[in-house]
C-alpha cells in the first residue's frame, strides 16, 4: 500500500518536472540560445533579489536597534520611532533606486 503510494508520488513529481523541461526545450529551439532580452530579464531578477535581500538585512538591523533602545528607555520611544522611520525610508530608497533602474532599462 505504502509502496504504491510512493510510486504514485514519484510519478507525479516526475511528471511535474517533465513539463518545464519540455517547455524549456521548445523555448530553446525557438529562440536558438540566450538573446539579449533573456540576459536583461536575468539581470533584472538578480539585481532586484540582491537589492531587496541586503536592504532587508539592513532594515532588520535598524529596527532591532530601535526596539532595544525603546525597551531600555520607554520614555524615548516616540522619538526613536520617528528616527527609525526616517532611517528605514533612507535604506529603502536604495532598493527602490534598483527598481527604477530596472524599469528604465527594461
Amino acid at each position: 500500500m505504502r509502496k504504491k503510494a510512493l510510486i504514485v508520488l514519484v510519478g507525479a513529481l516526475l511528471l511535474m518536472l517533465a513539463a518545464p523541461a519540455f517547455a524549456e526545450e521548445g523555448g530553446a529551439a525557438a529562440g536558438a540560445g540566450l538573446g539579449k532580452d533573456a540576459l536583461g530579464v536575468l539581470a533584472a531578477g538578480f539585481s532586484m533579489a540582491f537589492a531587496s535581500a541586503i536592504c532587508g538585512l539592513a532594515q532588520g538591523k535598524a529596527i532591532s536597534a530601535a526596539c532595544e533602545g525603546s525597551a531600555r528607555n520607554p520614555g524615548m520611544a516616540d522619538k526613536l520611532q520617528i528616527m527609525m522611520i526616517i532611517g528605514l525610508a533612507f535604506i529603502e530608497s536604495l532598493a527602490l533606486y534598483t527598481m527604477v533602474i530596472i524599469f528604465v532599462k527594461m
Binding site: K79, I85, I86, E92, S93, L96, Y97, M99
Partner: protein, 225 residues
C-alpha cells in the same frame, strides 16, 4: 508594463475627444473632492458638538501640528499650510490607488517629482527668508577656509534631496500597485486582501516620510549656526 488609464480618465477623454493625462484628471478629481469636504466640514463648526468631518479634519491638523512642534520647534506651526497640503494631497493620492478603477497619481514620476521640487523650493525659500545672504553659510561647511571643498559637496547633496524624495514616493506607490495587481491577476479571491492592507499601511507611511523629511529640511534651513 504599459500604463493603464483610470476609468474616470477614459470617461473624460471620451467626452472631450482629447488625450488628457491620467494623473491630471485624478489630481483634479481629488482637488474637487477635498475642497468639497473642507467646505462641508467648515459650514457649521461647533465647539460643543463637533461633527464627524470636523473631528477627522481636527485629527489631521493635530497630528501634523504635533510633528511640527517636535521637529521644527515652537514656531513650527507657521509652516502648517504647506506641510498640511502635502500631507492631505499625498495621502489621498496614495489611497485612491486602492480603489478599483483608479490609478494612483503618485505612481507617476512626474507628479512625485513636482511635489519634491515644491518641497525643495519651499525649504530653500524659507531658509533664505530667515537668514538673508547668511543662508549661504549653510553651504560653506564648518570652517570658512575649507569652503571651496564643502560647497560642491553641499550643493550636490541638496540637489539629491528632491530626487530621492521623488523616487522614494514613486517607487513605493508604483511597486505596491504592481504587486497588488499581480496577485489580483493570479488569484482573484481572498488572497489579495493582505496586499490591500499592506497598501493602506504603505500609503500612510510614505505620506509620513514625505512630510517628516520636508519638515527636517525646513528645520535644517532655519536653524542658526
Amino acid at each position: 508594463m504599459h500604463e493603464m488609464d483610470s476609468l474616470l480618465t477614459l470617461l473624460v477623454n471620451g467626452l472631450l475627444h482629447r488625450h488628457v493625462p491620467d494623473h491630471f484628471v485624478i489630481l483634479s478629481f481629488l482637488m474637487v473632492l477635498s475642497l468639497l469636504v473642507a467646505f462641508l466640514a467648515t459650514r457649521k463648526l461647533s465647539v460643543d458638538r463637533p461633527g464627524v468631518l470636523q473631528q477627522i479634519l481636527e485629527l489631521i491638523v493635530e497630528v501634523v501640528g504635533k510633528f511640527l512642534d517636535d521637529i521644527i520647534g515652537h514656531h513650527g506651526r507657521r509652516y502648517m499650510p504647506v506641510i498640511g497640503t502635502f500631507a492631505v494631497l499625498i495621502l489621498l493620492s496614495n489611497l485612491i490607488g486602492l480603489v478599483p478603477g483608479f490609478m494612483p497619481p503618485t505612481g507617476s514620476i512626474l507628479v512625485t517629482l513636482s511635489l519634491a521640487l515644491c518641497s525643495f523650493v519651499t525649504y530653500n525659500f524659507i531658509g533664505a527668508r530667515a537668514a538673508g545672504f547668511g543662508y549661504l553659510k549653510h553651504f560653506m561647511g564648518p570652517i570658512l577656509p575649507m569652503a571651496f571643498l564643502f560647497f560642491p559637496i553641499e550643493v550636490v547633496s541638496h540637489l539629491a534631496r528632491p530626487m530621492s524624495l521623488a523616487i522614494r514616493l514613486f517607487g513605493n506607490i508604483f511597486g505596491d500597485h504592481q504587486v497588488g495587481g499581480v496577485f489580483l491577476h493570479l488569484v482573484p479571491f481572498a488572497v489579495p486582501v493582505p496586499f490591500i492592507l499592506l497598501g493602506i499601511f504603505v500609503s500612510f507611511v510614505q505620506t509620513l516620510v514625505f512630510i517628516l523629511l520636508s519638515m527636517i529640511y525646513i528645520a535644517g534651513a532655519v536653524e542658526h549656526h
